[in-house]
């Protein structure tokens, strides 16, 4: 009875009994075994598949060209289904073209009609989208691992971005040094905002969820204020927009001016390496995790929970600040009211999707970067609203955050909950 799922699943593909099991069957079995044990990777993949499926339903029922066909569903069911399948196929194909590669550009290049860079344009956009997301999500990952619910990445992105940008246009420094100073400034800008929440927690016990949300509002108003203040505003402008950062502060493009891909991705990946070391190999990370999982035992073992709270928020805020700065120095070049847009909140989603691991967070950020890049093209070329992408992202995370739900849907055998899930629920209590 334990293998009902497996047998049903294999039933269609297997030759009648007696035949030797083909290697595919074995692979499928291993996959399902892993799934039934609640393997994290498998659950994540299943969640993505389910989300894409629900997204497909949304597209099928919302695309204007398919709509009238549903009205005639009973007289001509084939027509409706074909039209729906086509709409879904087109949309997802456009999504793919927007984030990975478009075959048309390859043939155009081979025919000599388009330059080479066009082929890599979608990939470049994916990476550009992923860059700030990696940094902001790492910020969330680090804090969540230490049991601190930093909801304030949004505000820290803004304060970091503001300071980084100001150094970018306000100071005169030689190229090379200028970028580094800007990035350091961006880190500091975010770190200060994070430190405030950490300090309040350590000092007064104020819950970081509350304080970081409040600090988000302050940061947003600070942003609006500065963008209407002469010394910050673009010279001679009446719009809420800052001056452009100096050329010496811009993060260099990696493959020429036509692709937006820039050195920011190296900053992000470097930070990821740093976080991996921090969380897995360093004594400070050991403290972070200990405090996150059991603050009482951590204190008994001589760790200072207050010190950890402050340090975590400084690092987390700093990473978020870097996210804002990398975006400004790499792609935006100036500060607008939409500096952080939704980045700080998407980061929470990405971090959860990455199961609060550094590697997972980076991969999830690339996935989201790709979905965003693809979604833009999808909307442009097929008219499918970009919101479908948002829905897909939301559904993925919903399933990840609720693994039991996925297990129930796929009748997976319940397994012990991971430590992280417990940590999440425990953290809200403290």
């Amino acid at each position: 009875m334990t293998s009902t799922v497996a047998t049903e699943e294999r039933g269609g593909q297997l030759p009648p009994q007696g035949a030797r099991r083909p290697s595919f069957g074995r692979w499928g079995r291993a996959f399902l075994d892993a799934a039934r044990e609640g393997n994290a990777v498998v659950v994540t993949i299943l969640a993505i598949v389910v989300a894409l499926f629900i997204g497909a339903l949304l597209i099928a029922f919302s695309t204007p060209s398919v709509d009238p066909k549903w009205a005639h569903f009973f007289s001509d069911p084939g027509g409706a289904i074909v039209a729906a399948a086509k709409a879904v196929g087109n949309s997802y194909y456009a999504l793919f073209q927007g984030c990975i590669v478009s075959p048309a550009t390859i043939s155009a290049y081979l025919a000599g009609k388009q330059p080479l860079y066009q082929i890599f344009y979608p990939l470049s956009e994916t990476v550009v989208g992923a860059t700030p997301l990696i940094l902001a999500s790492l910020a969330v990952t680090v804090s969540f691992r230490a049991g601190l619910f930093n909801i304030g990445a949004q505000g820290q992105i803004i304060t970091g971005g503001l300071l980084g940008a100001w150094i970018g246009f306000g100071l005169n420094l030689p190229p090379g040094i200028h970028q580094i100073v800007c990035l350091v400034g961006g880190f500091v800008g975010g770190a200060i905002w994070g430190w405030l929440a950490g300090w309040l927690k350590a000092r007064t016990g104020a819950h970081e969820v509350i304080t970081t949300i409040m600090l988000n509002y302050i940061a947003i108003n600070l942003l609006t204020y500065l963008l209407n203040t002469p010394w910050f505003q673009a010279p001679g402008s009446t719009y809420s927009i800052s001056a452009n950062v100096d050329q010496s502060a811009v993060l260099p493009h990696l493959f020429g001016p036509n692709l937006r891909l820039n050195a920011g991705i190296f900053v992000a990946l470097l930070c990821a390496l740093g976080c991996a070391w921090l969380l897995n190999r360093s004594t400070i990370g050991f403290e972070f995790k200990a405090v996150g999982l059991n603050p009482d035992a951590a204190r008994t073992a001589g760790m200072s929970v207050a010190k950890v709270a402050i340090l975590v928020m400084i690092i987390s805020g700093g990473l978020a600040g870097l996210a804002g700065t990398a975006q400004i120095l790499g792609t935006d070049f100036n500060v607008t009211p939409g500096l952080a847009s939704e980045l700080g909140f998407t980061a929470i989603t990405v971090s959860l999707l990455g199961r609060l691991g550094v590697g997972g967070t980076v991969m999830a950020a690339f996935l989201f970067g790709a979905l965003n890049a693809g979604g833009t093209l999808m909307q442009a070329s097929t008219g499918t609203p970009v919101d479908v992408v948002t829905v897909i992202q939301a559904i993925i995370v919903m399933f990840i955050a609720a693994p039991p739900l996925v297990r129930t849907i796929f009748r997976l055998r319940g397994s012990r909950e991971g430590g992280e899930g417990q940590m999440l629920s425990a953290g809200w209590g403290g």
Partner: protein, 530 residues
């Protein structure tokens, strides 16, 4: 209800936790399960309660084979369980906790709290389980929490009640009460599976005894067997039930506590002008019914609890106002009372738990980096040396059996250079064989010149380990006596006799206020279980 387990086998990876176990629970009996730490008792009970699925074997209820996939199934079949580590929700009231999982609702889906309260009151009256249904669980002493767990099981009409080491956290009086409840349940035809490491308790209350060793049933016997017999059946070799130790050779004072006053979380004075000292090379044990300030005393020494007055010196250095880290670094080893709450991070690996208070210094760290290979190597040695039964040092500590978790804490604290060893309930949940080993290690520490302070609610442990016994009652030390003091006299001190204003009595002198004093009549609550 007659319950049979047939050929139950449960594996965790390569480890066979239960190896074809056959066990029959007759209606109306108290059936004790004895076995070493990690023998597979909790695992077997988890199988019976539907918390884990056996790899082989069958559960038979009244002749009918059944299958429990969730505790829900087991509960419906009339099985109740009180876990080794409690599963109550601390911020809920007693009634709310009892109601969990069987929420009865009124119309419109409102919870029927009044009904839950009434149920609790009724049961607590019927079985003499005194609890207040409106009390919030986290405010209750563990003994009362235990009763809540039992009421919870009874309310679900349990015919078979599983008690997994229920007495480990209880005071002697609470244990007596519990036995009373167990007997009255048995007499009403229910059966009880009772797990404990205390052989006295088994002999006192069990009708039949099954001994498990390394996942297999060794034998089923009756309480007529002697403690020594039971112990050697469990461990597979003769066990010394008494500590073998020479006279102490006390040196310079290491710990000096003077006029210490400590408040609890509610601001009440729980340590009230305590003065005593521990010298190098001696073991001082603090005896007393739990809840008389012993916990707070150790926490204050460790810098975990603010001190309201007085002084604590370690090797002449004032420790009041210092952080736990500073106290630990001054050469103090510490075993907290509640291993899962304060002693371990159960989601951390065994290896990481073994460096929980040493991760930041050599050899485990070089600069800001951990040295995983050293950590692993040392973890392998430590767990071997202390006989911590495990499959892999990379498993989370939560995969260890309760007693092995306790050994893990001791292995950590006893394997670094210390001058003072402070341990609260050091062998709680540990089997007789390992207790023997741990006691020997503690005596070894003493003989190598470490000052040892033990807090234990078990008089046996206190008497066999201590060179001097300090008795605490209501936050005061009512006497400091040698270990050959008659138990009755220690019992009197534990009940407050001799609690004169100045607290401490010099070592070696019998307390003055024993005969004829008013307090003698109140000595009842400390009667030990037979």
């Amino acid at each position: 209800m007659r319950l049979e387990l047939r050929g139950i086998t449960k594996r965790f990876g390569s480890l066979v936790a239960n190896d074809h176990i056959d066990l029959t629970i007759e209606p109306g009996e108290i059936h004790a399960l004895l076995g070493e730490n990690g023998a597979g008792k909790t695992t077997l009970m988890n199988v019976l309660y539907g918390l884990t699925q056996p790899d082989e074997g069958q559960i038979v209820v009244d002749g009918e084979p059944v299958r429990f996939r969730t505790p829900g199934h087991a509960i419906r079949a009339g099985i109740g369980m009180v876990h080794q580590h409690f599963m109550l929700i601390p911020v809920f009231t007693v009634a709310e906790n009892v109601m969990l999982g069987v929420e009865r609702t009124k119309r419109l889906g409102f919870l029927d709290r009044r009904r839950a309260r009434r149920d609790v009151q009724e049961l607590s009256k019927r079985y003499g389980l005194a609890v207040d249904p409106d009390a919030v669980v986290e405010d209750l002493p563990v003994g009362v929490q235990q009763r809540v767990e039992i009421i919870k099981a009874l309310l679900r009409q349990a015919n078979v009640l599983i008690l997994d080491e229920p007495t480990a956290v209880l005071t002697p009086q609470e244990i007596e009460d519990l036995f009373g409840v167990m007997r009255s349940l048995r007499d009403s035809g229910r059966s009880i599976v009772f797990i404990t490491h205390k052989l006295k308790e088994v002999k006192a209350v069990a009708d039949r005894i099954t001994v498990i060793r390394r996942g297999r049933v060794v034998t089923t016997t009756t309480p007529a067997a002697t403690e020594a017999e039971l112990a050697s059946l469990m461990v597979g070799r003769p066990v010394m039930l008494r500590v073998d130790k020479g006279p102490s050779r006390p040196g310079a004072p290491v710990l000096e506590v003077r006029d210490l006053r400590v408040l609890d979380d509610r601001g009440q004075t729980v340590v009230d002008g305590v003065t005593f000292g521990v010298r190098a090379g001696e073991i001082v044990a603090v005896a007393g019914v739990q809840g008389n300030g012993q916990t707070e005393l150790t926490e204050a020494i460790m810098g975990l609890r603010p001190v309201a007055g007085g002084s604590i010196r370690v090797n002449g250095r004032e420790m009041v106002g210092r952080s736990p880290r500073e106290v630990l670094m001054a050469g103090v080893g510490y075993v907290p009372e509640d291993r899962q709450h304060d002693g371990l991070i159960v989601d951390f690996s065994v290896a990481d738990n073994l460096i929980l208070d040493m991760y930041h210094r050599p050899p485990f760290a070089s600069g800001p980096s951990l040295r995983p290979r050293v950590v692993q190597e040392s973890a392998r040695q430590r767990s071997e040396e202390f006989d911590v039964r495990l499959t892999s040092i990379d498993d989370p500590a939560s995969a260890l059996s309760g007693g092995n978790q306790q050994k893990l804490v001791l292995a950590r604290e006893l394997s670094r250079p210390i001058q003072l060893f402070v341990a609260a309930q050091p062998t709680r949940g540990v089997d007789v064989g390992s207790t023997e080993f741990l006691h020997r290690r503690i005596v070894q520490q003493r003989d190598s010149g470490v000052a040892v302070l033990i807090v234990s609610s078990e008089l046996d442990e206190v008497i066999s380990l201590a060179d001097r016994i300090a008795v605490m009652y209501r936050g005061r030390i009512t006497g400091i006596v040698p270990p050959d003091t008659p138990r009755e006299q220690i019992g009197l001190l534990m009940a407050g006799a001799g609690a004169t204003g100045d607290g401490a009595v010099p070592p070696g002198r019998r307390p003055a206020a024993s005969e004829g004093s008013v307090a003698v009549g109140e000595a009842e609550p400390t009667r030990r279980p037979r």
